[in-house]
Every structure is written in C-alpha cells, then in structure tokens.
C-alpha cells in the first residue's frame, strides 16, 4: 500500500479505519438517523473510500479500494472537500 507521506510500505504497517462516512449534525439529527450513522454500514462489495492509517508514522489517509477484489485504486490525504 502507498502511504501518501511515506510512499509504498508493507501492508502489515497499515491499519483499517472503516469506510469514510459523513457525520450528521448531532444537534439536529433524529434518533433514527443517528442510529443509522452509528450502526449501519454499506457492506455491499464495491469500490469504497476508506480510512487507513500508516501506524509506523501515524498518518491517516483515504484509500479507494475495491472490497470485492482487495485491489487498491489510489491513496491520498483527506481534505474537507472529501465529504
């Protein structure tokens, strides 16, 4: 896997942080929508944007990965525009 800061590193140096999901506003969202955010996941296979961490350096970044084939499409640092 390619860390956007450290370049290609062994997969054993990385930790998975789950799919990138937009956080609803906790002040205004309904209980049902909040439960959906907290618990429910899109677990249909496909290309997903996921959080990964290069644990040796503590860099969190986004990885686009096909969860059906385990092939990594690209990795890049998160920007707020990612929502």
């Amino acid at each position: 896997m390619v860390c956007p800061i450290n370049g290609p590193r062994a997969l054993s140096e990385f930790a998975y942080g789950g799919e990138l999901r937009p956080l609803p506003d906790p002040e205004t969202t309904s209980d049902a929508d909040w439960a959906d955010y907290v618990f429910n996941r899109n677990s249909v296979p496909g290309i997903k944007r996921e959080w990964w961490c290069h644990t040796a350096s503590g860099v969190w970044f986004i990885c686009e990965r096909d969860t059906a084939t385990d092939s990594i499409k690209r990795t890049y640092l998160y920007t707020p525009a990612e929502k």
Binding site: A32, N40, R41
Partner: protein, 399 residues
Amino acid sequence: MFTRHERLKSSYEAVIIGGGGHGLAAAYYLARDHHMCDVAVLEQGYLGGGNTARNTTIIRSNYLTPEGVQFYDESVRLWRDLAQDFDLNLFYSTRGHYTLAHTDSAMRTMRWRAEVNKHFGVDSEAVDADAVRTALPMMDITCAGHAPVVGALYHAPGAIARHDAVAWGYGRGADRRGVEIHQNTQVVAIELEDRGSGPVVTGVLTNRGRIATRKVLCAVAGYTPRLLAMVGLRSPIYIHPLQAMVSEPLKPWLDPIIVSGSLHVYVSQSARGELVMGASLDPYELHATRSTLDFAESLAAHMLELFPFLSEVKVNRQWAGMADMTPDFAPIMGKTPVGGFYLDAGWGTWGFKATPVSGKTMSYTLANDRPHPLIEGFAFDRFARYALTGEKGAASVGH
C-alpha cells in the same frame, strides 16, 4: 441423496435463500414441525459449500449473555439427538472445551461466564492453572514464558461434529418431506409490493426463472448485505474474512478443544486426526475467500507457544469464509420491516453451533409470522432502539 428437480415451480408457499446448514435446517423443521412442505431452498453454489464447510465445527454454549446462553444451550440439546433424527452419523463428539485465561482480567471474565452459565443450568466452571496443567499435560502452560496460563473456563459439553453431514442430514430430511432443493440457482432480485401498509414480498427472480411467494427466508451469511440491498434494507452487518487451516493427520493426542483469546488460537483434533485451527478475523472488509501467509504464520507461531512439539508438523490446507459480523457479536434473526422477508444473519464467527436452534426458531418465526421467544433478543430493530445484546462470549473477536 437428494431429488433433482429439473425446473422451478411458478410458486411456493415459502422460499429459503441459502442452502447452507441454517437454510436447510429451517427447511427441515418447517416441513417436520410446521407441515409446510411447499418450500424451495435456493442455493447459488452447492449445498453446504459456504460457511457450513468453512468453520472449525466447535459446538458449545458457554456464552456470556442470558440471551446467548439459553439460545446456544438449546442448540447443544438439539445437536445430541440429531444423528438419531437423521439416521446419519454426524461424528458428534463431546470433548470438553477449555477457554484459557492468561491475565487476571481474562480470568474475571471466565468467572463471570461460568456464573451466568451455571445460573442457566449449563455445565461450565472456572478452573485454576493446576487443573489446566493436570488436564492438558501436553501443553506448555507458560506459553514459552510469554503469556502464562492463570486458569480457564472449562465447559464439559463442548463438542465437534462433521459439518458436511449436518448439511446433508438436514437436506435429506427436508427433501424426503417434499421440500425442493435447487442448487446452482442464484437470486437476482426480490419483488416487493406496497399497498399502503409498507413493502411486502411477492416473488423472487432467479437465474432459472421467477417464483411467486409471500415468504422469503434469507440465510446467506456473507452475502447478506447484497440480499438486503435487494429489498432496500440497511443493517450493521460488515463482512470480514475468517480464515482457518488444518494440519496433516496425527495420531489422536488432543481430546479437548483448546481456545485462547489472548493468543488468537482455537484448536481441536478431528476424527481424522487433523488439527483444525482457527484464529481471529481478518482486520478489514473483504468479500472474497482468499488465504494469506500472514494468517498461517501468525497462527502457527501461537500454536507453537502452546504446543512446541508440533514444530515439524505440516499444514495441509488453509481456507477462508466470509463472516457477517455484527457490532454486538449476536445474530440478527426474525422479522424485518419488509413483510414476508425473514432474516437469519449476523452469524459472523459463531454460526455452526447454532445450526439446529436457528433452523428450529426461524421455522417457527416463518410459520407463525412472529419471532420465537428464544430469538427476541436478536431482533433486526434492536440497533435503532439502541438495545444491543453485547455477546462477548463469541469466538475470534477481541474483547
């Protein structure tokens, strides 16, 4: 062993998606106990080829929550009579089951589990390191000095069984009672209709034609999210691979089943003499059953900490299944917001032992359109109610 049906009928009283242990058990009990025989079981591959064939066949009921203990204990009871029921040898073998504790905090959990178990009449007890050493003289109780065993939870009814025979037994029993089993039949869509009171199931589209039906049971383990997407439901289920491996056959030397949550090892010796070994879930989502060297290396290293004399023993096979995990390590069973769509899922790493009782309770749920009392704690809507079950007695998950 089974009747081969050339084509699907145009309608069935109920359709079961998934010809694994759970789906076939539900079909069997529907026909036997509820006299619903106009049932089709649809399997996209071959019978029992999914997680029924990929687990490590351990049967036990030493769980932590009252919901879990009662449910799995009923399953153990059903298991014991199953071979008679089927007139088929399931190689059901009661071995005793040690869950090793390497720390004081793990020992505390073992005592907790033992007390909950005893309260519900399940034969479990916390034992100290000396008792473990006496019972398991072949094990290095210090784990090479890395993680000395301080005690264990001993569960005498712990057992193993022949997984294929379970699927075949249920399949044959259902088949003889008129249930149609269709292999190589993939569901491509589920038809819904909404007449104002919410969506209800009206039919199933397959690669071999359309079926009209009012009741669908979804028992597809790692494929659950794809099926739920067909009926427009979201769930907390996430899919991670769970790997396992077996050694070459050895003379019998390991009678009990040994589990260590800290070392990520569970192992038993099969009737064929192979050591059947498992570890923990793969650490990220993947919808494939590939094997990794990482897994084999790390499991082998931990096995050698417990049993150093195995260093020359070869690994024969390695494989994986797609585990449908839930956030509280309990299954999701029963009715769903879609009328006539029943779910038997979220079986993650704990499904094989529950095969009989899930079949029994899901057939009841399907026949009566209300959840069996034993599965009320596993309802689909518990997450929206923030009422999780919290089953920390599940296998291969870190606590």
